[in-house]
Structure formats: C-alpha cells, structure tokens
Amino acid sequence: MTATAKVSTPAAAPKRRFRITVSQELILVLAILVISLSVSVLQPRFLEQRNITDILNNSSYIAVAALGMALIIISGNIDISVGQQIAVLASLGGLLSIGGADNLLAAVGIAPGGPLTGLLTYTLPILAGVAIGLVNGFIVAYLRVPAIVVTLGMMSILKGGLIFITGGDVIYNMPNWFKFAQQRIEGVVPIPVLIMIVLTIVMALWMRYSAGGRAIYAVGGNKEAARLSGISERAVIMRVFVINGVLIGIASLMFATQYNSIQTTTLNGLELLIITSAVVGGVSILGGTGTVIGATLGAILVHVLPPAMVFANISAYWVQAVQGGLILLTVLADIVRRRRQSFAGRI
C-alpha cells in the first residue's frame, strides 16, 4: 500500500492540487446555496431577485479588493493597509468629483468640465493605488522588510494622512455622473456586480494560464525552487502589490460611488473583511495555494450571512461572531482535508 502511494505521488501531485482548489470552491458554492435555501424556507422573500442583487452588490467591492488580497497572500505576503487604502482612495475620488479635478485642470490651464474631468476623477485614485502598491512592494521586495511590518506602518501613515486632509468630514454633493455604482444594466444587474464578475474572470484566467500568474504561485509555494527556475522574486512581489493597487483603486471607486456620501473615518476593520474573504475562499495564508474565484466566492459568502441572519430573526449583533466562527470552520475543514490527502504521500 505505502509503496504504491509513494511511487504514484509525483505524478498525482498536479492533479491533487487541482482537486483541492476545485473542491474548496465547490464547498463555498454549496455553503452559499445551503444558507440561502434554508433561510428561504423561513422567509421566501430571501430568494427574491431584489434581495439577491442587493447581496451581490454589497459584496462586489470587497470581492474586487479580495482578488488583490488573494494575489498578495498567494505570493506569501500580506497587506493590512488595504482598509485604509480604500478609505483614502475613495475620499480622493469623492474630492476630485466635487471640484478637485476641475481645480487641477484649471491649474494647468485647461477649461474645466468636459470629458477630462471624468477621466481624472476615475484614473487618479487608481494611479494613487498603484503608487501605494509601488511603495509597499518596493520596501518589501528590495529593502527586505516583512510585508506585515511595512503595511502596518503604511496603514498608520494613510490613517493619519486621511484625517489630515479631510479633517474627518463626510464628503457629499457628488455629481450624478460620478455615482456609477448606483446604475443598473437593463435595470437589473448593478454595474458593480458586472465589474466583480468581469474582473474575477480576467484575474482567474491570468492566474491560471499566464507565466506571470503561475510565477506568483511558484514564489509563494517555494521561494528557492522559484529562484532556481529563473523567476525573479522581487519582480513578482512588485507585480502583486501593483496589481493589488489597481484593484484597490477600482474597489475604492465602487465604494465611493455606491452611496450619496463618503464617510472618511468609519472604515475600521475593512482589511479584516477583505482578508477573511480571501481566506474563507481557500487562499492559504502560508502562500502558494488558492484561487481568485475562491476569494470572490468568499466575499459573497461573508455577505450572505448578515441578511440571512436578519431574515432568520437572529440579532444582527451576532453577525461578527458568526463570521469569526465561519473562518475557523473553513480553515478547520481545509486542514482536515489536507491531512487526509497528504496522509498517503507522507507516510
């Protein structure tokens, strides 16, 4: 028995990884379905189209941010400054839309208004996200400071910087063209949900089939092996932080445009929700495994819970406790499954 298991291990390895990732996503889909269906037995309204689009809409910006987090965690790093990044970039977008962009244009002598205003409003937050990603990535990759320390410092810097600029005020009176997240295609599919789906598919294909995407798995799985096969770890780390910056920029705009005002201070714990989504989605905190589809499904699962609890008449105060229990449960399931699968190979 053991002899055959040993011999077959190398050949079975890629197949096994494929099975693990597929089953994690399957579990998530099943969990979402089971929760939704069992609540709908109590309250049939839960499965109404309006409620479903609301849940998807609420999870969309967290899901987009979780895509970036998945990349970073798969590469063996972490970014705990993402919550503050969203707060800063959303405020930046808001301020640009209520005259900031026009002022910038006027400063360089271009007549305000017109398409350039919109272009600046949407691109500057994303570029700022890239800039933050470059700084984080550079310090991690080239100056060799652990990502958790760098992003802890960055979190502090952004938090202080935001209060410094906005004074903690609420931003409101954004023009209607800015609030794209409130629009729906055919009156049904909210734009953010569409963005979430498109970005998830694009990122999933890139991670699976491009050399750049595979290199992230390689670095996160085994640095030394990746180095020996000619992959530059530094380039990979820079890449994941920059891509994360783009995704955070997009997520910030989705966040900034979904309501009629932007709170600049009440975003504490957002990083936790984003990391939770990625981890519940099966991204291993040790690096090297996980998929972006899992991260998106994780974000949806995390957002199905609060309304499900409300519909099932459980006090909303217990939502966070249930979310915490959920992370423990998924991680436990993951560890049990891994042990069972690697049992034959190890002994």
């Binding site: 958790i148 320390v149 802890l152 502090s156 810097i157 202080g160 217990w318 966070q320 979310q323 991680v331």
Partner: protein, 345 residues
C-alpha cells in the same frame, strides 16, 4: 592554515571583539535609546510641561494597556507567531465582567475573577487551534479576533455597564500615596499602573532571558522542528504563551475599565496593532528567533514620547499617527541595513 595567506578562515581576535562591540552599539535597543533620548531632549525644549512628573505619570497610565499586552506579544513574536485577537479579548473581558456585575448581580470581585477567566479561556482556545489542530497563528487569531469581538457585540447589544464602586475606580485612577517632592514638582501618588507594569516587566524579562523556558522560545522561533528534536516541549511552550497573552489582555481590560468607569463592546479594538508596532519597533524580528523585553519597552517609550510630545508641541493627532508609521518602517529598515552590513563583515 594553508589558505591563511590569502583569505584568513577566522578573523583575528581583536577584530572579532570590535565586531561584537559594534554589534552592541548598533543594536536596535541602542538605536531606540538614542532616538528616545533625542526625542525627549527636543520635545522638552519645545514645551515645559513635557518633562514634569505629572505629565510623565499620566503618560504611563495611558500607555499601560498597550504595554501589558506587548509583553506576552514579544514572547509570541519571538516564537514566530502572532496574536491578533488580544484587542477582542480585551473588549470581551470588559463586556462580560461589566454585565456579570450589573445584570447578573454578581459581586464585582467575582466578576473581575471571571473576567480573568475569560482571557484564560480565550487564550486557551487560540492555543488549542494553533498547537493541537495546527492552524497558523495569523489565521487562528484573525478568526478569533472576529469571534471574540462578535461575542462582545452580541452580549452587549450596544449597551454599557457603568456606575462602578469607588474602590474599583481606585485601581485605574489611584495609586500609592507618596507626596513626593522634587524641586518645585509634587507627585501625589505613584499610579497602580506603574506598579503593575514594573512587576510585569521584571517577570517577563527574567523569564525570557534567564529561564530555560524563555530561551526555548528563541529556539522555537529559529527552527521549531530542530527545537522539538532537541527535546524542547514546543507545544507546551506555545500553549503557555498564547494563554498568558489572553490573561494579560484581560488584566489590561479590567484596569482600563476601572480607569474609564464604563464598558463598551468596541473597547481595545486596534490595540493589537499598537502592541505589535511596539514589539517590532523594539527589534523583535517578525519572523521569530530574536528580540528582547528591553527592546519592547524602549519601543513603547518611543511611541508614547512621540505621541505625547508632538501633541504638546501642537502637532495634531493625525500628524502623530503618520509619524509613528514612518518611524516604524524606518527603524526596521535601519536595523535591517545594519544587520546585513554586520553580517557581511
């Protein structure tokens, strides 16, 4: 010594000694000491209220909770682990103690004891998942961060307990009456926080540097498998430190509640990051294997001096938060740079 002429295998004794002296001078602790001294010197010229006994004793009271949590955090980070759930244990302790006393009508002494029990059990749950099940500490404590905070929220339902008796408030607000007078300054009482923190620092410092248990934490952080093969009970050691971390968070919470005389479910949120920042600033490697209690204390002092001094110098709170982030990254950068230069010598 065949190759001695071209490349000496071992450097001459004097050079080695120099290297060790240099290592000491350029250690993270020395850097912090110098930085703190500079900060204190500059800030005391900016504001005459800064170097008063009154101000300093108030700052100790303010830094107390983070300090108490940073001590076991140093142990945990030295083993290569992390505990993100301490802030939530802090909040959960405050809420459960408050409601056991106010709603369930238990005597406050018993409620305090049960509050400590909360930290003990919460720490044990962390330890159980990390040691027995083998879930990485970051994930375990991330999950329990949400879980424990969620329990605090669920129990409190945004209500608070208040109206604590006089003797309880004295823990956080009173101290040993001394009426100490130096020059024209008078200090009425040494705050209990200072007494507790001195005792705790001595215990944690001695355990870490002078006991087999303490030294084994470094071994675990450097190479856990090797430590286990060397006969160190790695599981037991980790169980002890995560449980201790929970208990210390509870002690901090009880003293905090007695100072602010109310309980809220969001108490202590983010305190884990303050503690981790102090520990890392103090030169403890986030990868484990090195660090000291002295470094952590110096890290705490530098952060608190910056917070207080900049505030007194008229810098707004947000500027201070930025400053702490910058100092954290730069301190680790400088340390990395020096260590790599020394290592390549």
């Amino acid at each position: 010594m065949q190759h001695g002429a071209t490349a000496p295998a071992t450097p001459p004794a004097t050079e080695r000694k120099d290297n060790r002296a240099l290592k000491f001078i350029l250690s993270q602790e020395m850097i912090l000491l110098v930085l703190s001294a500079i900060a204190i010197a500059v800030l005391s010229t900016q504001n005459e209220r800064f170097l008063t006994m009154r101000n300093l004793s108030r700052e100790i009271v303010l830094a107390f909770e983070v300090a108490l949590i940073a001590l076991p955090m140093t142990f945990i980070i030295i083993t290569g682990g992390i505990d993100l759930s301490v802030g939530s244990i802090f909040g959960m302790t405050a809420i459960i103690m408050g409601f056991l006393w106010q709603d369930s009508g238990l005597p406050l002494e018993l409620a305090m004891l049960l509050g400590l029990g909360v930290g003990f059990i919460a720490g044990m749950i962390n330890a159980f998942f990390i040691v027995i099940i083998g879930v990485p500490p970051l994930i375990t404590t991330l999950a329990t961060l949400a879980l424990y905070r969620g329990i605090a929220l669920g129990i409190s339902e945004a209500r608070s307990a208040r109206g604590f008796p006089e003797w309880f408030q004295d823990i956080g607000r009173g101290g040993i009456p001394v009426n100490l007078t130096i020059g024209d300054q008078t200090l009425a009482a040494i705050p209990w926080q200072l007494v507790i923190i001195v005792i705790a620092v001595v215990i944690f410092g001695v355990v870490l540097s002078r006991t087999t248990f303490g030294r084994s934490l470094y071994a675990i952080g450097n190479n856990e498998v090797a430590a286990r093969f060397a006969g160190i009970r790695t599981g037991f050691a980790k169980f002890v430190i995560y449980t201790t971390s929970g208990v210390m968070a509870s002690i901090a919470a009880i003293v905090f509640v007695s100072r602010v005389t109310t309980t809220r479910s969001d108490m202590g949120s983010g305190i884990e990051l303050d503690a981790i920042a102090a520990v890392v600033l103090g030169g403890t490697s986030i990868f484990g294997g090195s660090g000291s209690i002295l470094g952590t204390i110096l890290g705490l002092i530098l952060i608190q001096v910056l917070k207080n001094g900049l505030l007194l110098a008229g810098v707004r709170g947000d500027g201070t938060i930025i400053m702490i982030g910058v100092v954290l990254i730069i301190a680790v950068l400088v340390n990395n740079f020096i260590q790599s230069k020394l290592g390549s010598r």
